[in-house]
Symmetry: D2
Subunit: 357 residues, 4 copies
């Protein structure tokens, strides 16, 4: 397979940095262009960024000259990954699509568009098909926007997809999240707000989980472009906690038609296989869902389990019956890998394999 040239928008931000660490030794994608604000343009990447990853900045990246987020600078790119803030993503990503470029975006701006796929790669890569309608709509042969979910949504939809496939529609889902500080970018959360503390509020986050879950677990309508949301009633309460990486969620689920036992749930989750695994994608986890059984009732934990499968797995534990819902459990996602940059990369790998780019 020919190596694809890729660009990164918002390369100096937290998500952009994660794109770099995940792509710097990727066998199929080669970083060709780094884009950031006008203020950074023209500077070597090492000067333009405040590197906050616990892996050292790759040498060859550090010397690259940062470009402005202008489609002309990215014309050679087969794929452009976007880690832009929502404040800028709307206009910039549109201009890139208009220039017939393929945008794989972590920003929220286009997630609700009917013909823009909103994809968590180990859940609903079949939704990628709608980019053909998007291209038709925009009269483009190649340009399109593909989005991945909000970071916390990923921890919800991966296990729910496996459960929905096995046990039918889900009626109600209650979610309480404990979310890592890296989800807020840099400088993001002030240390005075989070040391010895929890902040029980993240602006806009609950609405994202509640709506995105229904689109991702919904179906693509193949005759007319667009989506049908599932009927799943989702209620979310989001908290910021003093954890660096890894969103942990307490999830309670009520099914519409059945009431599986904890053992059945455990088995279904452990045996779940997603499309990127079947396609043999490079970044696909060997195990899409890590399941902890009753012998380790205190897992998953962010620090110990967020890096399972290099951050592309979701880890689930404490599966048990619930007195209000049917089942409750704990779910963990690496918020900047499967919850952000990694989702975009694996989505792109799938799209390439399926000949969609």
């Amino acid at each position: 397979m020919a190596i694809k040239k890729v660009g990164i928008l918002g390369a100096t931000g937290t998500v952009g940095q994660r794109f770099i660490t995940l792509l710097s030794d990727h066998p199929e994608f080669k970083i060709a262009v780094l884009g950031a604000s006008a203020r950074s343009a023209g500077k070597p990447y090492a000067v333009a960024t405040k590197w906050k990853q616990s892996i050292a900045m790759p040498k060859e990246i550090s010397q690259m000259s940062v470009k402005a987020c202008d489609p002309k600078e990215f014309s050679e790119c087969d794929i452009v990954f976007s880690g832009l803030d929502a404040d800028f993503a709307g206009e910039i990503e549109k201009s890139f699509r208009d220039a017939n470029l393929v945008i794989v975006s972590n920003a929220k701006n286009y997630r609700r568009e009917p013909t823009v796929p909103l994809v968590v790669p180990t859940v609903n890569t079949d939704h990628l098909d709608v980019i053909k309608y998007q291209r038709q709509e925009n009269k483009l042969d190649r340009g399109c926007i593909i989005t991945n979910s909000n970071c916390s949504t990923a921890a919800v939809v991966v296990p729910l997809k496996a459960l929905q496939d096995a046990f039918g529609p889900i009626a109600q889902t209650n979610v309480v999240s404990m979310q890592a500080i890296s989800g807020a970018g840099y400088p993001g959360v002030s240390s005075l707000d989070i040391l010895d503390n929890i902040v029980p509020f993240i602006g806009g986050e609950e609405e994202k989980i509640e709506w995105e879950t229904r689109k991702i677990l919904g179906s693509v309508n193949s005759t007319i472009s667009g989506y049908e949301l599932t009927d799943n009633v989702v209620s979310a309460q989001c908290n910021r906690v003093p954890v660096i990486d890894g969103h942990l969620m307490c999830i309670s689920v009520k099914f519409a038609k059945t009431s599986p036992t904890p053992d059945q749930v455990r088995e279904v989750l452990a045996n779940y296989v997603s499309e990127p695994q079947k396609l043999g994608c490079y970044s696909a986890p060997k195990q899409a869902i890590y399941v902890f059984d009753d012998s380790t009732p205190d897992r998953p934990q962010p620090r110990l389990d967020r890096n399972n499968e290099n951050g592309y797995a979701v880890s689930v534990g404490r599966i048990r019956s619930d007195s209000i819902f049917d089942i409750k459990f704990v779910s963990l996602v690496h918020n900047t890998v499967l919850g952000a940059a990694g989702a975009g990369i694996l989505n792109a790998e799938v799209a390439v394999k399926k000949g969609l780019m």
Copy 2:
């Protein structure tokens, strides 16, 4: 009012230390005896304990000679507060009651006994009445055990009591807790388990919240001794978080008969007045429930709000409608004050005022 002499069992532990800081300048109770393990007996308190409070150890306490937990050593005490671990509390507290002493205990051992009151002071001090049945049962004219709730239960029952009084029975309550490390005592939680981490499991905690809530919000049956549990179905998921003091809970509530608006709930909580307030007890909070409105959607927070009313208030915020339940909100309790030592002290103040000791 004559000053009462009090003793403290388990005086060197985390809860014992909190009893000391709360009692050392109490106008009605005077610390007369400190009890701890045989290993500590005979030593000055300052030598026997590893003081972990952020308030300096009171000078006069530091010199007191620690006694063994033997009823004979506490014979002069009007009230004996117990901060004993459950491993020891069962036998020792019984021996104290048998010696006709009044035990106000934070331990879980006797909470489920039908004639032992399980009381959160700003909720159900009317339950203190059952000690007369306990004394009859044990053929004692004075000796009895009074218990307070598990620390996390307190954050649940205070707002639920106000809501139940105003809107009638509660059908379902879903609770997800984020609990401080001080709740596990000392050395308690290893720092390797909790720095940059969350542990989604606390042994026995969920069962305590689920059962204790129903006893505390239930009614005392005045003809035959004992309790009737409420029908409220409570489901709890408990997490340990890197916070020193203060348990924060995400609570969702479904009422049996009504569906109040967030504004109605806010008003009811803000106007709730508990019995210790009406009695003018020394430690009673001026406001039993601190309510944060929509102008501060990120409150309560443990570090900023746990000390409201010296730790005797519960703080509630983010009151909003829920798509699955009727109402959801966030509730915070100081786990070693109203959730432990402070509850015992205020319970004792009420019992004294009511002539029950």
Copy 3:
């Protein structure tokens, strides 16, 4: 004594908030005016500020209307405390002095002026005398600027003053600091920089410790206005650590003429009495230096000891001989009390007692 009306500049910042918590129940000073940026002016204080103190905002303060930092707004104030950032303090404080107002400032801008006293209240309140030269210079009968030290300097100079008084000049002082995040204001240090981390650099901090120590421990030259720095060679290395309040310093000291034993040092520190104590000032600590002996070799610790004497004491422990210097020890200061707002307040109390205002 007549109650003094006081104003607070920079009232919405971290230091300003601490001024408010310390002054809100002060028996001699009454908060009359709160000043902040033009953006805040006209708003109620509760709206203008993001309160980050662990003590609730005083009710009467929350309703006060914030004023611009204009001398006219503060004309009724006997004393104006300044918690302004250095970026603004230079111009504003000068304009206040020019308006014949008394400024007690925590900002660094005027600390190096020869006729501006740089005072840690439990160290060198005798330096307050130079304000008479400052007034002469500026042709004012009342207006003047009094400064307190940088937060970390306070932990150094309090024990050094006691040692210098007892054992003569100090030749060399090596300081390594571990400083709390509250020292950087709000939002200040990003949580991504400090969770599970240390930052071994604080811009400008080392120079402040090295120079301020020499001015504070130096002498006022009473014939010509101004100071003589001590000869003490001070070398500082500063680190930011994940602690909320309390700067901890490892200090090594070499004397010019003697070499006292650890026991002698311990005795001198424990017996040190500062001028505010002798004058009976309201905020003066009973004990200016808390000394931990060998029975508690792991103290002082920020969380346990920063509130000793309401934050007006310095705590010292681990006093021992050194193989390179004479003596080494650990010193702790509450950086926003004696290291900032509290120093200003106690300086003002002394100045009032001495008839200097």
Copy 4:
């Protein structure tokens, strides 16, 4: 090169776990036997241990049956790595040597023996030669004990070795450490002691830094077995900080004969090449000392830099002139890699390459 079979003593502890993560995919060493306490013996490793590494437990290791720490169980091992606690290491390691086994130990027990090499692999692998005297003394043809340094010592001796080689003897070294919690093992430091806190004391740690530095930087006396300590006067002050991995040290150095400039120091450190690098050892870092220059004055930081070169490098920054000593700088080591298990592994690699095993 034939693959060596290795055993691990103390395999369930923190250092033992790190040995496992570092050895599980080592091309030259194959884990053959895992030893732990009698309590663990006979159990599968996954059951016997509480895994606290952020990398998942290797599958093949999880199934291995743990053995008692008895030489008979390890007879097939070419090398036995010991992560034993000092309480047990003394007797067990001796019995292993007596059984003619090669022990590479992280314990402190034999570090001070004249014929036991105390080696930091990027500093003094020439000291490995003394094992021939050790074997003579014990009348063994193969059995011997090789030790690595205390974790914090490693951060000191690596840069000091480079400096001593270039600029001659060092007269004085002042060290203030900020040490990670993983250095204390599990459960180790209580979270109540370290959240929002620093503990300015680690029992025995300062003495280790002060003495070990002098042995490691000293010379092997080749005619009579044993060491000569350097004359370097080392003074250490040790603090525990809320960091998971990575010891950060503020170091001040005075040379006996010269006074190099910061630029000279920077160049010498950046160009330093250690013996394992020259020998091409598998685990040897490409760069033994990472040097940060003035463009990044806030580095190294534990979270960002501890994993440089997989934890086998020491990172140094903030190199500058000092007013008391000649030079001061900040040094960081990964305390469980180069400061513990990694040091043992790289020492063993060197010993194998040199034909000493």
